[in-house]
Structure formats: structure tokens, C-alpha cells
Subunit: 324 residues, 2 copies
């Protein structure tokens, strides 16, 4: 893998008059970089694994399983599980062995999307190009589908992931911490309660909790279940932190400059809800610069993480340059 | 502890004309039995433990913690954690050692109540005598408070419950299975989708999943985390199954015959939603008889479960005779 010297999608040319929140509606510069290649063969393995999952042991709850699988199998880039499998590769493990953990992380992510899209939350009707879970199955079933996915994610790790008991425990401990009040759910809370004038540090923290923690867990949990921590995985952890920030900055940029068909979701959702983002806080141009900075740092961390980081480099490049 | 020969609250005198679903509005017979003593000293220990729990590690998410604690500390009989501590006693363990697990089970129960009460679900505005979580904090925060309680419940067991790693894993595996699609969430799904003409077997199954599984887990998880299973805990498991059924039958009876002030929640919620219950299916009189039958079976199972089952007997008697 080489660093293609790519630029983030919107900052190919400096935008003038970018002064922070005020340039929200500035037209995005036409992207000149090409999207880096995504490890689609790993994504396909994840998709295959997820498609094979069943949750209901009896016919009466098959309808709940259907709603869960509807959202779970709606496609998507599978960045988190792909990251887990690429981390396994970086640690010299067979990625196949980590599929239950990787799949579980995608279940947790899907659960958060379903709840995030609910009328009482972001009230989105389109996700991954399809009607959201509550539009398709009703709000009550959607709430339960999210709840069910979280429980079944943990069952998946606890019942199917190989690992020594103490390592499995450490891994699940990290996963639930990343999903809890000091992680994803806390970030969602900050998101629903945030006022538009949240300062830069506040925006960063919101995103660190809401998306960053689970992205970090996608890397860290693989180390933990392999019995590795501390110096052995420190560079990978730093990589994951940078990647999480990079991911969210690009997400915020695409929410303004992307197109709904490619992204498969309604755009300007944050704007509609008056929510602070990297773009409202730093402006499009500085957000692009920030994305590049975090990409550089992510790559620098990988350079210290051993010889087998090719796929992780590919993921970092893709996230910087992705259009959807 | 002695079996007081108590009767369930509503069936002290035979009701005439009880013919199944048709007698829904039959006036309840005045209860003649007295409520058995509840182990309030154990309940107080649970309350103290729960009151000491904090979830947010930073100020910004304190508001979410507040909503979680609002519902968690609203009182209630704490039947599930009290059951866990009484099971510890029955197994010859110091109940204090099981407080993290017992507390976690109450967190899971509270999470299910918050989501159950949501407008899209049962749409209840009163719980444990106070406005429900979404009435007090808004629907978005209530959804997240439920989500957060589930994650923090698991963190509590994984970070604070003592036990050998393989025993802790078995315990958490059972807890998430009890909360998942083949347990509580599956039961909630059956509840929101059930039609009023569900047959008797269907009503039983709904309740087994919705409330029975977590009540069983309150007992079984204590055995698992103690490294006990199979013959050592079989009688206790049978007890828990019978107790779960008994609990739900009495709950359905009280939903018709109880009073809102004592119960702290809106009554006839099932009726309003056209939901099948033991009372709509079997009628009040037969429901009372069924409650007695399952109480007898619960006590019989305890008789085979060793010498230290006094508190568990007390709980069984209380559940049969409770007024709230």
C-alpha cells in the first residue's frame, strides 16, 4: 500500500471566505482526488458472515429477526468489522477467526443507527438507500430491533468468538464500555442535547464518544481478545483514534457536499436539526485540512505498527477520499 | 419460613360466570389473605447499592446519568436482585459478594421498563408512582437512558463482579441471552404484535420470554458465576421458572383488581391495548387457581434445594399475596 497523496473530497482548492460556521452553505469545490480502493474482498467476507446470522429460535419472534436483518443487511461499507479483520491481519492472526467479534461490532453499529433514525431522535426516513427500520416496520418494532441487536451482538461474541476466557472478558468489557454512557450512547446524548453553538472542543468530544469509541473498539477489541495490550498494540490504538476523528470529519463534510443517492441517506440532517459539526465549527476548508492532518497521523501511527498494516493503510486512504 | 397457606389476592371467593376472556370486567373479589412479609432488609441493601452507582465519567453526560438514575431509583420491590441475593444465600454464599450482578439485573429490568413505557410502545405516563422517563426527560433521552442502562448493566458485571473468568463469562452469556431475542426483547416483540385472541399457549410463551427469562436469570446467573450448574442448581432453576410464571399471573390479576396508587402505575394498560393476558385468557378465578398451582410448585422445588432457602420461600409467598 502506498500513500496516494490524496486530498479530502472537498478541499482540493482552497475555499475563500471560509470563516467557520458562516460558510456552511459555501459551494464545495469539485473533488479532484480519486477515491482510494476499499478492501472489498474483506467487506464481502463480512457481508457473507452477517447474512448467515439468525437470532430467533422460534417462529413467533421471526418478525423481530426480520426487522433486525433488514437493517443489518442493508449494505454499507462495514468499516468497523473490516477494520477489525484488518487489525487481525496486522497482528499476524487469521482474520477468519475474528469474524464473530467483527460481526458483533457491526450489530452494535446497526443498533445505534436504528435508534438514531427514530422519530424522537434524528427522524430520518432513509438509510443505506432504503426506508429506515421504523418506516418499514413501525416505531415499536424498530426500538426492539435495536435493543435486540445489542443483546445479540454480545451473545455472538460470548458464544462464538474463540479466545481465552480472561481475554474474551477484556474484549467484551471494552465493547460494552465503548457502547455505554462514556461511549456511543453518551455521544448520542450529547448529539440530541447539543446546542448549535457548542465550541470546537465540545464538537470533538461529542464525535469521539458518538463514533470514535466504537471505531477504536473495532481495533482495540481484536488486540484484547488476542491477549495483547500495552506496548504491543499502542500504535494500533493511536491509529484507531486518528481514524475515528478522520472518519467523522469526512462524514460531516459529505453531509454538506455529498449526494443522497451515493450516500443512501438524507443529507444536511445535522443542519436541519441545528446540530454542531466539524463543518459548522471549522468551516469546509479547515475541515478538509483537519481531515488531512488526522490522515497523516493515522498513517504515521501505522508506520510504527509493524509490517502487516497494508489493509489498514488502504482503509485510512479510503476514508480520507471516500465519496459515500 | 412457613407456607402460610395464602391465597392469591383475587381468588379468595370463587367468582361466578368466569368464562375466560369474557369476564375481563368482572368485579374482583375482596382479598381476604394478608400480604406475606417481604425481605425488606435485602431490598434496602439493593437500594443502597443502586443509589451508589454513577455512570458518567464527565460532566457533559451527567444529564443522561440523571435520567437513568431517575428511573433506576424510583423505588420498586427489587424482586429480581433480591432474588439473586436470596439465591446466593441458598447456595451458601455471602449475598454481599453478588451485589454487582444483582444490581446489573435491576438495571436491565429498568431499561426494559423505560422502553416499554415509550409512546410507541405501551405509552404509559406513570411508573412506580412517578412520571415515566420520557415524560420527565423527553422521548429521545428516555430511549438513550434505556440503551445506556443495558450497556452499564453489563459493565457493572464485567468490571465489578468477582468470579473466575470462565464463570463470569457463563454468567454474562446467560444474562444477555435472557435479555435478547429469545428472551426479554423477544417477549416485548410478542407483546407489541400480539392480537387479543392469542391462545393460552401463546400467552404463556409471551410471558415466559418477556418476564420469565430475566427472573430465571436472576437465579441461574448466581449459580453460573459461582461455578455451579447442572444437578447443583436444577431445583433452584425449576423454582425460578415457576416463580416467573407466578409473578406474571399475579401481575395480570393486579392489573385488573389492583389500585393505581399502591401499584404506582396505570392499570388496565393491557386492556387499553387489547393485549392478551392470563386474565383475559383464563378468567380471574382460574388465574387465581393457576397462581396457587405455580406457587405450590415453586415451594416444592425449593424443598429440594437445600436448607438455606428461607428467603426464597418468603419471596414466593410474597409474590403470591402481594397487593402491589
Amino acid at each position: 500500500m502506498t500513500d496516494r497523496g490524496t486530498r479530502p473530497p472537498v478541499a482540493a482548492e482552497p475555499l475563500t471566505g471560509s470563516t467557520g460556521a458562516g460558510d456552511r452553505s459555501a459551494p464545495a469545490a469539485a473533488p479532484t482526488s480519486t477515491e482510494a480502493t476499499y478492501p472489498t474482498e474483506i467487506q464481502a467476507e463480512v457481508d457473507l458472515f452477517l447474512a448467515g446470522l439468525a437470532f430467533a429460535s422460534e417462529g413467533t419472534t421471526r418478525g423481530l429477526e426480520e426487522a433486525m436483518r433488514y437493517s443489518l443487511l442493508a449494505g454499507g461499507k462495514r468499516i468497523r468489522p473490516v477494520l477489525s479483520l484488518a487489525t487481525a491481519e496486522a497482528l499476524g492472526r487469521d482474520p477468519q477467526e475474528l469474524l464473530p467479534l467483527a460481526g458483533a461490532i457491526e450489530l452494535v453499529h446497526t443498533y445505534s443507527l436504528i435508534h438514531d433514525d427514530l422519530p424522537a431522535m434524528d427522524d430520518d426516513d432513509l438509510r443505506r438507500g432504503r426506508p429506515t427500520c421504523h418506516v418499514a416496520y413501525g416505531e415499536d418494532v424498530a426500538i426492539l430491533a435495536g435493543d435486540g441487536l445489542f443483546a445479540e451482538a454480545l451473545r455472538l461474541v460470548l458464544e462464538r468468538q474463540d479466545g481465552r476466557p480472561e481475554h474474551l472478558l477484556a474484549c467484551v468489557r471494552e465493547l460494552v464500555a465503548a457502547a455505554g454512557v462514556n461511549g456511543m450512547v453518551g455521544g448520542q446524548y450529547l448529539d440530541v442535547t447539543a446546542s448549535a453553538d457548542l465550541d470546537a472542543a465540545g464538537v470533538r468530544r461529542l464525535q469521539e464518544l458518538k463514533t470514535g469509541r466504537l471505531i477504536c473498539a473495532s481495533v482495540d477489541c481484536v488486540g484484547l481478545v488476542s491477549g495483547l495490550s500495552g506496548p504491543d498494540t499502542m500504535a494500533l490504538s493511536r491509529f484507531a483514534t486518528e481514524l475515528g476523528t478522520l472518519f467523522q470529519i469526512v462524514d460531516d463534510i459529505l453531509d454538506v457536499t455529498g449526494d443522497e443517492v451515493s450516500l443512501g441517506k438524507r443529507l444536511r440532517s445535522d443542519e436541519r436539526h441545528g446540530k454542531p459539526t466539524y463543518v459548522t465549527t471549522f468551516g469546509l476548508e479547515r475541515s478538509g485540512d483537519l481531515a488531512e492532518k488526522h490522515h497523516r497521523r493515522a498513517r504515521a501511527a501505522l508506520a510504527e505498527a509493524g509490517e502487516r498494516t497494508g489493509t489498514l493503510e488502504q482503509i485510512a486512504d479510503y476514508i480520507l477520499t471516500r465519496r459515500r
